[in-house]
């Protein structure tokens, strides 16, 4: 019996360690602009967004969702949004995310396709893995708004 408890404890410890490791990191706020710098400041972010746009246009899973959009405006808004989110000196002036995606009925497949394209665009611009992960982490709270969940 004692042995059983020990084994369960080990399993619980493994899970807890993971959760604590994850939790500790999420408590570390970065009020500074380190991520913004790692992304190559506003021009670096603008390059990523430009490559993202090329990937979106070529992606049959999602390009229909972007039909008729103002490309220049989309590029400016998303660049500002990522710039602000990463701690840079920008202000997103576009529409609120939930309202913006309200009638689009974005599926998990489409959301995954966009996430994939963003990662590929960051890779193409040689954004370090850690910076990619940090940016995605800051984008995560938008998931329910974009999917309208």
């Amino acid at each position: 019996m004692g042995l059983r408890i020990t084994k369960t404890t080990i399993a619980a410890l493994l899970i807890t360690t993971g959760l604590v490791l994850g939790g500790c990191q999420s408590l570390q706020h970065e009020p500074d602009n380190r991520l913004y710098m790692q992304l190559g400041e506003r021009s670096g972010i603008a390059d990523v967004v430009e490559d993202l746009l090329y990937l979106i246009v070529a992606d049959e899973r999602i390009n229909h969702q972007f039909k008729g959009m103002n490309v220049a405006q989309f590029h400016r808004n998303l660049t500002d949004q990522l710039c602000e989110l990463s701690g840079g000196p920008c202000t997103y002036t576009g529409r609120e995310m939930r309202e913006l995606h309200a009638d689009m009925g974005i599926t998990a497949t489409q959301f995954n396709a966009l996430a994939e394209n963003l990662i590929l665009a960051m890779e193409k611009n040689r954004i370090p893995t850690a910076a990619q992960n940090k940016l995605i982490k800051r984008l995560l709270p938008m998931y329910p708004d974009i999917r309208h969940l």
């Binding site: 084994k7 360690t17 993971g18 998990a108 497949t109 995954n112 995560l140």
Partner: protein, 300 residues
């Protein structure tokens, strides 16, 4: 004897050819699903998506909510006195339901002599079929703050019950029930993404079912805790460890918990290669079984 040895090798080759055929087919290549790389896990030794030894809450293949997906896998564990070969296949509908089949073949190697001298049994391998189903109940492993939660069944049928029967197992088939939670924490360890899995399994299986189900020490379901932790070095490399608690139903031999340390390489959605160090503890009187595990998975 020769036939028995040759059979798994033949199966392995046939499976490899099928896998390679699928990997090479451009028609199939276009259909690989939309979920993010490596979020289908790999194929466990029981066929369900997960790590090597533990099923995770993620469903196999890369099918997202409007897609079908499938996997084929060949795995092999070589520990001190045994080798286990697994052929597995799975289908995923809309990232909601995963259906899997797996055939396990355990070569008894050294145990052949124990069985012959102790029990007068001539048996050099044990085969088991596993039919699995897993349902994603709620959440997404990447995007949901509380992760992804799934429940599954593994129905196992021992095809060579003579040996398990002789050492005290009660049944030649059994069904494991499990509940699993998985979550990726972004930028959690030195900027790397951390994957955490916890699984609770209700089971009567001895050594996963290869030694039958139930026994003289215990014949009922017991709840076992299983866990896995991994760190994505980047989107192609995952390193981690797993732990699987096991019941101890047979007085014939003590059964130990399993653990492994793994590294998985996922160059793209079509291929995953997993290597691991596994420790399976004592198995059927042969002590401290350690060795290596290799697994090749194709997704389509």
């Amino acid at each position: 004897m020769t036939r028995l040895v040759a059979q798994p090798v033949k199966k392995l080759w046939a499976g490899t050819l099928v896998t390679l055929g699928l990997l090479a087919s451009p028609v199939v290549m276009a259909d690989v699903g939309s979920r993010i790389w490596a979020t289908g896990g790999v194929t466990t030794i029981e066929g369900s998506a997960g790590g090597g030894l533990v099923p995770w809450a993620m469903l196999g293949s890369y099918a997202s909510d409007e897609e079908w997906g499938g996997t084929l896998a060949l795995s092999r564990a070589e520990v001190d006195d045994y080798s286990l070969a697994v052929t597995g296949a799975g289908l995923n509908w809309n990232n909601r339901i995963e259906v899997t089949v797996a055939r396990q073949t355990l070569d008894l190697d050294s145990l052949v002599f124990t069985l012959k001298n102790g029990f007068g049994l001539e048996q050099d391998e044990l085969n088991q079929d596993i039919f699995g189903v897993k349902v994603r109940l709620v959440g997404d492993v990447l995007y949901s703050p509380w992760g992804q939660w799934s429940a599954g069944l593994q129905h196992k049928r021992q095809r060579d019950f003579t040996v398990p029967n002789a050492i005290g197992a009660r049944d030649d088939s059994g069904t494991d029930v499990y509940f699993s939670g998985s979550k990726v924490f972004f930028a959690a360890v030195f900027g790397r993404n951390l994957l955490v899995n916890g699984t609770l399994r209700g089971t009567r299986a001895n050594q996963g079912g290869l030694l039958g189900f139930g026994g003289d020490l215990n014949n009922g379901y017991e709840v076992m805790a299983e866990a896995g932790v991994g760190v994505f070095i980047n989107r192609q490399w995952l390193v981690g460890a797993e732990y699987r608690q096991k019941p101890d139903n047979l007085s014939f031999a003590r059964e130990d918990d399993w653990w492994d340390m793994f590294i998985a390489w996922v160059p793209d959605r079509r291929l995953a290669v997993t290597a691991a160090f596994v420790n399976l503890g004592d198995i059927a009187t042969l002590e401290d079984q350690q060795g290596i595990y290799l697994s090749l998975q194709g997704s389509f």
